[in-house]
């Protein structure tokens, strides 16, 4: 190892630390928003959004999943309960998938770091593909069974 390397790594470490600290207000904001969501929006309130119409519910499931935050497992549990309530598998799949792929509260941070244009493109595509994937998954499942 050359004598210059430790000095260079130390400089990289310092740069990375400062870069990270600079983003800390953004990270704290996102964590704060997630806390507010968990404190003010109950799982029952989310479940009550569904109407029973498979197509409208698929859209509602996508949007509810995009707004909701938390561990993926919570979405599975909630999805299981929704199925028991008679909500269509299309809607539940969209909800579970949107829960893990879309995140409204982290949009400001993503836009700050990777640019607004990329963030808008990526999230609109993720929204569209979440609906398409949910529909394709259930349609394939029905075709095979």
């Amino acid at each position: 190892m050359s004598p210059q390397k430790p000095k260079r790594f130390k400089a990289s470490l310092k740069k990375a630390s400062l870069q990270f600290l600079g983003l800390m207000p953004m990270i704290l904001s996102v964590v704060g928003l997630i806390g507010l969501f968990q404190g003010f929006v109950s799982q029952e309130a989310l479940a009550s959004l569904f109407t029973g119409n498979p197509w409208i519910d698929t859209l509602i499931g996508t949007l509810a999943g995009a707004v909701a935050v938390g561990q993926a497992m919570v979405s599975y549990i909630l999805g299981g309960e929704l199925l028991e309530q008679g909500i269509s598998l299309y809607a539940v799949t969209a909800f579970v998938l949107a829960w893990v792929t879309l995140g409204l509260v982290q949009l400001p941070l993503e836009a700050e770091v990777l640019g607004l244009r990329f963030t808008v493109w990526r999230n609109l595509l993720a929204l569209l593909f979440t609906i398409l994937t949910a529909v394709a998954t259930v349609a394939t499942l029905e075709l095979l069974s």
Binding site: K14, Q19, S29, I34, L114, G115, T137
Partner: protein, 172 residues
């Protein structure tokens, strides 16, 4: 080298929301604060790892190496790496954004980042639970379609978001 704090206005807005909430709904706000504090406590464990990886990328890899594996020249290997890394990664996405800023500055393709983000929805440790709730066929089909959707989004972004690069501020 000085710190440039970003998101102070948003932090001010969120703090105001908590103060307003404490006045209107003190119990719910206390619950919200505790939930946020718990999440932040969990994140504290991975922050040093993120800083270390970001520093290692800056120290160990130059733009040329990144271009070969994840840049314009990467081809199918780049897609496979992005999808594989997305499936294997865990923890909240927002915690990893500082690292993404670093790798973007090294020339990683935007399409690969989009594919990575979507492939993250496949959570390997959670698959048994998903199978338990929704069945093995459902889980297998969904997993396959997620990978296809992740690749398709990356492909579309590369074709149609040509000015994404113009937006990137990069690190100083």
């Amino acid at each position: 080298m000085s710190i440039r704090f970003r998101g102070l206005k948003l932090l001010g807005f969120v703090t105001s929301a908590y103060l307003l909430g404490a006045w209107i709904e003190p119990d719910k706000t206390a619950h919200a604060f505790m939930a946020g504090a718990k999440i932040f406590g969990e994140l504290l464990l991975i922050f040093p790892l993120i800083i270390l990886i970001t520093a290692l990328i800056d120290y160990r890899f130059d733009a040329k190496t990144f271009a070969r594996h994840l840049g314009e020249e990467s081809g199918a290997k780049g897609w496979a790496l992005a999808l594989g890394a997305g499936v294997l990664s865990h923890g909240p996405m927002y915690a990893w954004y500082p690292m993404f800023e670093e790798i973007r500055a090294h020339g990683v393709r935007y399409g690969l980042m989009a594919a990575f983000f979507y492939a993250r929805s496949i959570k390997i440790p959670m698959l048994p639970i998903m199978i338990d709730y929704f069945g093995a066929p459902f889980t297998a089909i969904l997993t396959l379609y997620i990978l296809l959707a992740a690749w398709a989004q990356g492909w579309i972004i590369e074709r149609f978001c040509g000015q994404c690069d113009g937006e990137f501020k990069g690190k100083s």
